[in-house]
């Protein structure tokens, strides 16, 4: 999904606890029993509504041709079959592999650049650094539609192969604003004294970055890598303009699978949608705390 802003505040605190940890606030009472019951009922209702698409995806992906009748649209499969999963995997697995090849290098490179930028713009800054930062940040809000036509020519001029190599470049370049933002916000929470002490000890800029800043950057590297991984994995816009179904990522392959065939086979496309979402969902489930840290990237004053 697309980018997020911006108030200049810590994305995640140095402790690595991004969104106000529960134990930090005094427990207030849960309210009167009736009010509490009503609240639970409302929350449960919304939970069910949010999960409707998940039910549809799962159930449909296990249905065979015998369940094609509209009357059975919402029922469980009469006969559970793995055929759809099989077909979807055969169709999508090359694209999933290409997406991994695209996402991992672009996340790593964008994170490194963002870390250096964040350090310079917050803790080794210079006159005009704020303006430079704002100019970089603007890059994260622009609609890419406003650059795609000349970008297309530029990519041709650079003679970059279409597909993975081009997409790596684009995800790195257009990832710089958000990674810079997250690191800058994080480094602003690093005490000035730490940097000053290194300077007084005679450490230069690179040495300070290498031996003081980088070692404490692990939490924000996790946040940034997850963010870049997710947004590059889920990207469709660059994919559709700068790759083809032969060399493109999984979003493009899924879109072709779902919309390409003359006869729509929802079972296969839903199994495919689940495959395509699995990596980001696994990251969300395992590293949710850091995922939210990326989402928040500074839009909240605390």
């Amino acid at each position: 999904m697309t980018a997020l802003p911006t108030e200049a505040v810590p994305a995640s605190r140095p402790t690595g606890a991004p969104s106000g940890p529960a134990h930090a606030r005094p427990r207030r009472t849960g309210g009167f029993p009736v009010a509490r019951t009503l609240r639970y009922a409302a929350l449960l209702l919304f939970l069910l509504i949010v999960l409707i698409p998940v039910y549809v995806l799962l159930v449909t992906s296990f249905k065979g041709p015998g369940d094609a009748s509209p009357a059975r649209a919402w029922s469980l499969p009469t006969e559970w079959t793995l055929d759809n999963w099989d077909t979807a995997w055969t169709t999508l697995s090359p694209a999933i592999w290409r997406t991994l090849q695209m996402v991992i290098p672009s996340a790593l490179i964008a994170a490194l650049l963002g870390s250096v930028n964040g350090f310079v713009l917050s803790r080794w800054s210079f006159r005009g650094a704020n303006l430079v930062f704002t100019l970089i940040l603007f890059g994260m809000f622009i609609p890419y539609q406003a650059v795609i036509i000349p970008l297309n020519e530029l990519v041709l001029d650079l003679e970059l192969p279409s597909g993975v190599p081009t997409l790596i470049l684009l995800h790195v370049v257009f990832g710089i604003p958000i990674t810079t933002l997250i690191f800058r916000n994080y480094y602003q929470t690093v005490p000035h004294e730490l940097v000053e002490a290194a300077r007084i000890d005679g450490a230069g800029m690179l040495r300070t970055y290498w031996s003081v800043i980088l070692p404490i950057s692990v939490p924000s590297f996790v946040v940034v890598l997850i963010w870049q991984f997710t947004s590059a994995w889920n990207d469709f816009l660059f994919a559709v303009f700068f790759s083809s179904s032969q060399n493109g990522p999984v979003t493009l392959a899924l879109n072709n699978l779902a919309n390409g065939a003359l006869l729509q086979n929802y079972g296969v496309s839903m199994a495919g949608a689940l495959f395509a979402s699995l990596p980001t969902l696994v990251v969300y489930i395992i590293l949710g705390k850091y995922f939210i840290g990326g989402l928040m990237s500074g839009s909240v004053k605390s």
Partner: protein, 303 residues
């Protein structure tokens, strides 16, 4: 020689050199290309021959903009865009705030609710488009599937409708999956906001005898308003750029649900680069109107 920290801080040479790669990349790919795009939008490159440089191209200045803004088809796209943005913004703000408000007090199982409300954020629009295309199927009665069938099953037949196949407001149907996908994010923003409010503030209000409404009106809402503004800007600019979801639910050929980003794709596919570039620039202006004041304000506040 030992420089004092302050003096060293003022020297721009070394730090600029370190961030030079990023500055050059952003300079070229963002600002340079925006300029080049604007230049193309002033040209008359409407055919494949011109796009590939085999046929001559001229400059028509702002004619493409006038033609676009004057055409019924593009006005329809703009109308769709504003309708979509209105519903998307309204829906996410309402649901996001409601969920945050319900989850604001500590309670058992809050983590599960939070995680489930937020999970659609981790899924691509293309993947969610697959299932929402099924849910928003316009067939009704006997042949109904999707939500229309569900409405029949729970006795709400009258709710059956055409969804995105309606020419006038079909686009608002596509705002439903968008709301599904981003309300959790707005919730997370508001939750962080609620938790940032010191308990002493509430206590003080209570000691002063404030009613619950007064507490919200005079203490909580003012504290939350910067977050509401952030959420509006984030969702608003995302909405103006919406493309993936619309493409995966209704395909570019659908007049009912087209927006400028879809027009841009169609123009590009038919080598009408001038119009594609013009649509891109129009989108950029729309987004900039929302974002630039916000960035300037943020920048100023920091100084």
């Amino acid at each position: 020689m030992i420089k004092t920290a302050k003096k060293a801080g003022r020297k721009a040479g070394a730090p600029l050199l370190l961030i030079a790669p990023s500055l050059i990349l952003v300079g070229i790919f963002v600002y340079g290309l925006i300029g080049a795009n604007f230049k193309t939008s002033l040209s008359d490159v409407h055919t494949a021959g011109q796009a590939t440089g085999q046929a001559p191209a001229g400059t028509v200045w702002l004619d493409n903009y006038f033609d676009l803004l004057g055409s019924e088809a593009f006005q329809h796209s703009l109308k769709n865009l504003f309708l979509y943005t209105g519903v998307f913004l309204g829906g996410t703000m309402l649901m996001g705030f409601l969920w945050a408000w319900l989850l604001e007090r500590p309670m058992k199982g809050e983590g599960i609710f939070r995680s489930v409300y937020l999970f659609p954020m981790a899924v691509s629009f293309v993947a969610s488009g697959v299932v929402w295309r099924w849910l928003l199927n316009s067939n009704q009665d006997q042949s109904a599937t999707g939500l229309n069938r569900l409405f029949q099953m729970i006795g709400l037949d009258f709710l059956q409708n055409n969804w995105w196949n309606n020419v006038d407001y079909g686009i608002t149907a596509i705002a439903i999956p968008a709301i599904w996908q981003l309300s959790g994010y707005v919730m997370a923003l508001f939750l962080a906001g609620f938790r940032g409010i010191p308990d002493e503030l509430r206590e003080a209000a209570r000691v002063d005898g404030a009613t619950t409404w007064q507490l919200y009106r005079h203490v909580l809402f003012p504290q939350l308003s910067p977050i509401a503004l952030s959420a509006l800007i984030i969702i608003g600019h995302m909405s103006l750029k919406s493309f993936d979801l619309i493409m995966s639910i209704s395909k570019p050929a659908n007049y009912q649900t087209k927006v400028p980003a879809v027009d841009m794709y169609v123009f590009k596919s038919s080598f009408d680069y001038a119009n594609a570039a013009a649509v891109g620039s129009i989108l950029l202006v729309l987004v900039a109107l929302v974002v630039v004041p916000y960035l300037v304000r943020t920048n100023r506040k920091e100084k």
